[in-house]
């Protein structure tokens, strides 16, 4: 069992109705975290988190990164105490 911290920014904050949360995971995998997030926050979160075609994390207009700023994907391992941040991927304007 590991503990993973999540941060939700802008639209994700709205969908989760909180800006951070903690998940206890049995399997130390991003896919496990994604499932748990969808369970906790419902179908709208799922719609933006998971690409229905590929079952990968949705990359369109989003940016999900670890504490070092690397984009994460479903197969990535997680460790106790990891912080994952969910953001909108926008630049310029």
């Amino acid at each position: 069992m590991i503990k993973v911290h999540t941060q939700f920014l802008s639209h994700f904050k709205e969908l989760a109705a909180t800006d951070e949360d903690v998940f206890e995971l049995d399997r130390p995998l991003v896919s496990e975290l994604a499932t748990r997030i969808c369970d906790r926050y419902g179908p709208r979160m799922q719609a933006v988190l998971i690409d229905p075609d590929t079952q990968e994390l949705n990359a369109r207009g989003t940016m999900f990164v670890d504490a070092k700023g690397r984009r994460i994907c479903m197969a990535d391992p997680l460790e106790d105490g990891d912080v994952i941040t969910f953001m909108m991927g926008i630049a310029g304007g």
């Binding site: 941060q7 920014l9 802008s10 639209h11 994700f12 904050k13 709205e14 709208r44 719609a47 933006v48 949705n58 990359a59 369109r60 207009g61 989003t62 940016m63 990164v65 504490a67 070092k68 700023g69 690397r70 984009r71 941040t85 953001m87 909108m88 991927g89 926008i90 630049a91 310029g92 304007g93």
Partner: protein, 655 residues
């Protein structure tokens, strides 16, 4: 596909309509591509080294074929000219209602040369044209100018829509832009100064003509599909709510803001670092341009309860700040109150002035002051009186803005062409080298986001045809680490998505430039593509809409070559005015100073700069040593005629 072009010679008052034949669209797609060609042809018979503020410069307005035909991607007009502030290629896109209605007025392209003896405005109404005295408009801001023209021209045969300049344009300030309907600005490059130098205050359009669509049924089906794809994407819904302000929290987290002239990478101030403001103060809806399925823009009204500073602006209403409005105020200038950021957006728009050039000019001076490199006496010398120049102080900031707009004092005169030339002149005047604190690339002001951790963006700042510029080649693959896109475009290779290595970064710049050139030529907004670059590809997905509207059939590969051709014409223009590899560079801070905050702390531009630049030239097929184009590549692109012109000017690679 055919379009109407209006040629106006303001010196003689002669106005002539002509048809742009199908063959031009075959070669240049439309919009910015066609604009570029009109300008290129102009400078075959006029001296390309002319004074951009003189009568020989040309100002071209155009709007691409997908605009207003149900493509649902917004409508972006394009102005093209020789830039008075950077003295090279200049163009700028803008939304609003003007480009939409220009299409129904009878002329989709307008080319303006010469200089009117006295201030005038141009009216186009269902193919009829007139130059009308503008004495009553001279000296007015864009909001007033638009209101007066709407009042005076009435609602028939359609509402009046305008493109106008402010006092800054009249004063030929190099960083002055042109505003569409007093709402959306064509900011970059100094189009306002060109119109000001020609004594043309505004262009007004009216009309109820239609637009040809080759296959309406097919276009409708495409439109339906596009809408469904947008609606099925929750992330786009998130974007719809916030627009580009959605980037505020992301950049705060990863450390990509441009704080205090890019000395730091995070906003300070509790309120300013989150986009809660959107929810709190986004009161009414309005949209940036017509025919958009996303509609990311909205309006605010300040009621004085938002914060202490907001009491100064009770009742003020304008568009909600964009990210770069915020990046320039809350970032570059360290303004910490949202109502002040919004007010900054409003005044820069009303004065029709580029807020990137403006903020980088002001933040340059503020940093000199912060570091005690200049004394109060030096500041008084620039302003004619004491000016405290405190970070984030709106009184100081507005004093600087007005200095430039109204050319009030030495500071205004010195920085009328943006931070690079301003810093050069000031360094010379003081006999000291202050260039370390000027933020620029290729002579153009930096855009107010961090670029050091992103090699493609850095490269883009160095090579963009109109000076440091994110909108000429948005590097989505690397910034958002999109391995899927890297594989899609580079035969399964993933390096383009890895920020830490230089591989494929120059290639990414070239790729993005080609794609952006296509979208700009279609006359649509870049954001639909940016939100889903794997799906809404300019060469494939939009290519289908282009075919439905124009009847011009193209494979995705052919369209990518069309995009490349458009980029090459812009490059050729700059080569003709003498730009070479040494001009493709960025400022010292980006090159040598590591960035100081956030997840990508410690990135230094110079680490990868030259490797990436070499690779960019390689992918472009240009000569590395000189940065010049080669005849071989130009001929491959069907640009023999351009190669001949370059050869004559000694601006073609010798190899």
């Amino acid at each position: 596909m055919e379009s109407r072009l209006l040629r106006v010679n303001l010196t003689t008052g002669e106005m002539k309509g002509e048809t742009i034949p199908h063959s031009i669209f075959e070669r240049w797609i439309g919009g910015s591509g066609v604009n570029n060609w009109i300008m290129w042809e102009h400078f075959l018979t006029h001296d390309i080294n002319c004074d951009p503020r003189g009568p020989d410069n040309i100002f071209v307005f155009g709007v691409g074929p997908l605009a207003g035909t149900g493509a649902g991607s917004g409508i972006k007009g394009r102005i093209t000219f020789k830039s008075p502030c950077y003295n090279m290629f200049g163009d700028s896109a803008g939304g609003g209602k003007f480009p939409y209605y220009a299409r129904f007025s009878g002329y989709e392209y307008i080319a303006i040369t010469g200089k009117a003896p006295k201030p005038v405005y141009l009216l186009i109404c269902n193919g009829e044209v007139a130059l009308i005295d503008a004495a009553h408009l001279w000296g007015k801001g864009t909001e007033d100018t638009h209101a007066i023209l709407q009042e005076e021209l009435g609602d028939y045969p359609s509402k009046v829509h305008t493109l106008s300049i402010s006092q800054a344009g009249e004063n030929q300030v190099g960083i002055a832009g042109v505003v569409s309907d007093a709402l959306r600005i064509h900011a970059r490059g100094g189009g306002g100064a060109v119109l000001g130098s020609k004594n043309l205050k505004a262009i007004a359009v009216q009309g109820n003509g239609g637009l040809p669509v080759a296959r309406p049924g097919e276009m409708l089906a495409w439109s339906d599909d596009f809408r469904k794809k947008i609606d099925g994407n929750e992330a786009i819904y998130g974007f719809k709510r916030r627009g580009t302000l959605g980037a505020v929290e992301m950049y705060q987290h990863i450390g990509s803001h441009f704080w205090r002239n890019n000395q730091g990478n995070k906003f300070r101030g509790d309120e300013i670092r989150s986009d809660n403001w959107v929810k709190k103060f986004q009161k009414y809806s309005e949209v940036c341009s017509s025919d958009c399925f996303i509609a990311c823009d909205s309006k605010y009204v300040i009621d004085g309860t938002e914060s202490e500073p907001s009491k100064k602006y009770i009742g003020e209403t304008f568009r909600r700040p964009e990210y770069l409005t915020t990046g320039s105020a809350a970032g570059a200038l360290d303004v910490r109150d949202w109502s002040e950021v919004a007010h900054w957006g409003k005044i820069t728009n009303d004065y029709a002035i580029d807020n990137q050039d403006l903020s980088c000019s002001i933040s340059f001076l503020m940093e000199l002051k912060q570091r005690d490199l200049i004394s109060n006496h030096d500041v008084a010398e620039l302003f004619g009186h004491e000016q405290s120049l405190r970070w984030g102080n709106m009184d100081d900031i507005e004093a600087c803005v007005e200095s430039i707009v109204f050319q009030k004092n030495l500071f205004g005169v010195m920085f009328r062409d943006g931070p690079y030339f301003g810093a050069l002149k000031y360094s010379e005047m003081k006999g000291k080298n202050f260039m370390k604190y000027a933020m620029y690339g290729k002579g153009g002001a930096s855009f107010t986001e961090e670029v050091r951790p992103y090699p493609t963006w850095m490269n883009n700042m160095a090579v963009a045809s109109r000076g440091a510029d994110h909108l000429k080649g948005i590097g989505l693959i690397e910034k958002f680490q999109r391995e899927d896109l890297s594989k899609m475009y580079f035969n399964g290779r993933t390096e383009a998505a890895d920020l830490t290595i230089p591989d494929l970064k120059g290639a990414c710049t070239a790729l993005a430039e080609n794609q952006v050139a296509l979208l700009n030529s279609y006359g649509v907004c870049l954001f639909h593509w940016m939100l889903d670059p794997a799906e809404f590809t300019p060469q494939d997905y939009y290519g289908k809409a282009y075919a439905a509207v124009t009847g011009i059939e193209r494979t995705p590969e052919e369209l990518m070559r069309d995009g490349e051709r458009i980029c090459n014409l812009e490059k050729a223009f700059n080569s003709r005015v003498g730009m070479r590899r040494e001009h493709d560079m960025v400022c010292e801070r980006w090159m040598w100073e590591p960035n100081s905050e956030g997840l990508y702390e410690g990135a230094v531009g110079a680490d990868m700069f030259n490797t990436v630049l070499d690779e960019y030239y390689e992918w472009r097929g240009w000569e590395k040593e000189s940065g010049l184009q080669t005849r071989a590549r130009l001929e491959e692109l069907g640009m023999e005629d351009v190669a001949d012109v370059l050869a004559k000017d000694g601006a073609l690679a010798l190899t």
